[in-house]
């Protein structure tokens, strides 16, 4: 039996904290609330959380800084809540090490799904499975082979590297910069069109309907995410 996951909610709005608590407790989690960044950092340091849900618009400190602070000593999954339409804040938080984000207003279902995905990922992080499946695609990481509906699919080296990066971070949003750095190297920060072109190629090879992808998802203005479930 798994033990009860501990979740810290850092959010200045009490009504939002209240419904987050309701939604999370309904999923069987233990919730600790914090109204300020300072309080949140203390809670995160003392309670050994399994997940931190962090609002970017905190009154006392910039959310991105809080993410950096936590990342300095912990790899705990961080879910960002953002009321701002400005994509740059989200991207900055994700680049700083946050795992995923939700834009207000969001549904409870969405929140629960993200939370589950993040908890699952951290639980599985140690388990190194040799094959990964999504849809009708099967990736054999040991043999570097990709099969789709039983037939082998030929991927170029870059396409394969891109795919393995996404697989290594399944469920998580990877920003354009993170992917460019990992796949192309540090000198290609300005070449986001490379990434987009290869992503399109990858979808054409692996998705049933490339214009309506079900696994290799785009987060507009932010990055990409691989979703393995249905």
């Amino acid at each position: 039996m798994e033990q009860t996951p501990v979740i810290i909610v850092v959010e200045d709005e009490p009504q939002i904290r209240r419904f987050l608590r309701t939604a999370l407790e309904a999923e069987g989690c233990a919730v600790t609330e914090a109204g300020t960044a300072e309080r949140g950092l203390i809670e995160a340091g003392t309670r050994k959380p399994d997940l931190v849900i962090l609002d970017l618009g905190l009154p006392d400190r910039d959310g991105v800084e809080v993410v950096r602070d936590i990342r300095a000593w912990s790899g705990v999954p961080i879910l960002i809540l953002s009321a701002r339409a400005d994509e740059n804040d989200k991207v900055a938080a994700l680049d700083a090490g946050a795992d995923d984000y939700l834009t207000k207003p969001f549904g409870v279902g969405e929140l629960q799904a993200r939370m589950r995905a993040l908890l699952r990922r951290s639980a599985r992080a140690s388990a190194n499975e040799p094959t990964v499946c999504f849809g009708d695609v099967e990736v054999d990481l040991a043999q570097r082979r990709v099969m789709r509906a039983g037939a082998e699919v030929h991927l170029t080296p870059i396409e394969y590297r891109l795919l393995t990066q996404l697989i290594a971070n399944t469920g998580r949003v990877l920003t354009h910069q993170q992917l460019l750095r990992e796949v192309w190297g540090p000198g290609h920060a300005g070449d986001s069109h490379y990434l987009r072109v290869y992503m399109t190629a990858l979808r054409r090879k692996l998705e049933t309907n490339p214009t309506l992808p079900r696994h290799l998802l785009t987060e507009s203005g932010v990055g990409y995410r691989l979703v393995t479930g249905n």
Binding site: T22, V108, H193, T218, S220
Partner: protein, 889 residues
Amino acid sequence: MAADDRPDPDALLAQLEAEQAKAQRGKLKIFFGASPGVGKTYAMLSAARLLVAQGVDLVVGVVETHGRAETMALAEGLEILPRLEIEYRGHTLREFDLDAALARKPALILMDELAHSNAPGSRHPKRWQDIEELLDAGIDVYTTVNVQHIDSLNDVVGGITGARIWETVPDKVFDAADEVVLVDLPPDELLQRLKEGKVYIPQQAERAMANFFRKGNLLALREISLRRTADRVDEDVLAYRRSQSVSGVWPMQESLLVCIGPGPGGEKLIRNAARVAAQSEAPWHAVYVETPKLQRKPDAERAQMLKMLKLAQDAGARTAVLSGPDAAQAAIAYARQHNLGKVMVGRDRRPFWDLGFAYRLGRQAPDLDVIQVAHAPAELPPRRHGTGEKSAPVVRRADYAWAVAIVVAVTVVATPLAKLLDLANIVMLFLLGVFFTAVRLGRGPALLSAFLAVAAFDFFFVPPQLSFAVSDVQYLVTFAVMLIVALITGQLTAGLRFQVTVAQGREQRTLALYEMARELSAALTVEQIAEITERFVAQGFNARATLMLLDARDRLAAVGGSAEDAPDIGIAQWAFDHGETAGLSTDTLPSAPMLYVPLKAPMRTRGILALRPRDLPWLPAPEQQRLLDTSATLIAIAIERVHYISVAQDALVHMESERLRNSLLSALSHDLRTPLTALAGLAESLTLAGPSLPKAQAEIAQAIREEALRTSALVNNLLDMARLETGSVKLTREWQPLEEVVGVALQARASVLAHHAVRVDLPADLPLLEFDAVLMERVFCNLLENAAKYTPAGSRIEIAARRDGDNVEISVADNGPGLPPGKEEALFEKFARGHEESAVAGVGLGLAIVRAVVEVHKGSVRAENRPEGGARFVVTLPVGEPPSVPVEA
């Protein structure tokens, strides 16, 4: 010395600038002849035909064939510009159409007879001015001229032929020509041609041969024209040597100052000076010193001097009007200031410009060369206007009446005293009366009073009384003294009074100028400036002023002013474009009823000051001209100041409102979204907390959530629209495939599209497009949502794209009921709904946002009904230059 071999850098720079200006300007070629009939037009047409054969775009502007058959044959087949018909005193004059020529803009235009005077009402009085404008427009010009029309040779030729010609061309035009071709014909051949009737029709030829075409004349003219051409060739050689640095020696510039006086020799003086200056290649200046004495002259005479200055200016001189009590001193100061070593003056019979002036110049400035120009024997008497009104002060009839009255009064007072006093003392009384009259009433009345006093004294007091007879001769001395006293005092006081008037006038002008400067410096709006200008011009020039300034579309428009006073936009625009005064009393359209003065400020020309004088004719005196120039500058500076104040204010207000708007928007965004998020979340968690709700309550919770989400979407739309409208959106434009953004939009609107069949048809070879992914996602989301909302369930929605030249067209089409016809454009308006009072929810911001987003991407969007039914929205985005992506091996 090595240094001596190097050309003077300043001279080289000047040459370079001149060449640059020349490169843009058209080239002028002059066909120059000694007399009519030598074949200039013929030579010009022959040259033109050759060029036409080479394919040069050539137009005949003006060609006068004078009915000569050979010439007419040559003109055949060339493109001829239609003439402009000008009505003048019942005649229809056919003149060259300058605007048509500028609009046609050929490479080369033929303009016969350079010296021609245009019909009154044309833009310029002279054809050479038309040609200048053509050259400025970059059009090459071929033209013809005879030697007697060259300004500086006019006197010489006039002396030989005995005929004076009024149509002249300034030497600078001739000298500035790029090429001069001498069309030469020996006199015998010319006379032969004349006899054969090839030049004039027979009767005319007879008359012409008796007068102008005498062999002696023709020989002399030929010599002059050959010389003039040789002079020019000389200059060309010099210019060539200079450009090639053949000579290392640079002659000191022998600058020349010409002093123009009121005498008749002015024109000759100027022509002489122009010739001397041209020969020594020196710059020259022409000045007119206005002394109080000269100011007393009638306006017409002073205008004559202004004309002289104008003539000098046309001949290439820098001109100035100086003022000072001593003409010689002012002229010397000017010469020193401008480093002019030679002073040229005319010799005149008049006391002012006679030897005395030249002598004074020599005395006061021994270092200056003084050149005196003699009268030409053939000099015509000066053209004077209104010589009758010699004395400027206005003499009223009442003054004379007063003079008579004073003499009568003295007589009446003296009669009873006659027995008591000596006659010598009676004379004193009369003298007192005359003196009083002279002091108070001026010269004329004083003279009258002197005569009357003498008569009265003689008649009533000198024995034999009551008779004009004089018994004692010594009384004649009394009479003479009385007359002389009257004359001298009258003269003195009249002069004094005039100087006072002049000084008062000057003071008034200065005061008015100060006043205007003060008021202008306090003016905060253009309307205030216009009002101040109007008042000032009405006082100072007795004219109605209208200010014309550039409007938002950079076109001249009058500020205020009544309709009947409306200035002519065409002339104003010309004056504005050329930066020169035009209209009344100028060289450009002088017959216009208004004067147009460009308002030149330090940064640029700001507009036009249009003046409509109350009384015509109107010739501004030099001091008025100066006043006008000064006030135009003051007004221009004031306008510029107001302009920059408003620019600075606008910038400040803009910055401030931008800051306010941005902080307001982000505050709104946060403060509205947070409670809506809480509301939606709380409603949803209602079902999670505690025991499960009864069905009805669960439904209510669901409804609350949906409404909160809908409100949130609306808030998003409003905020986005506000951001887009205020231009505070920062685009993150990146090159990306269209497929991706369409996919995201489809995913985001999956729930709305659940009951529709969506087909996507994007060609695989579509180029990458540069756009902001988040904003473009909104475009497709809104279009898809729209399509889903306004079509019944089960309808088909198609997304397609194709490349169309430099653009990509993306269409979102449906097979629903289509758009209300005629309202396709209106759909993109804010808060526009396709169907009024529609049951479909929404406020009509979706398409407005679509348009705003597409437009910030430099694209366009349109809506239309498909021929096969249903609506189609087409977004057009520019392709630009997509970056390449290296292909993997």
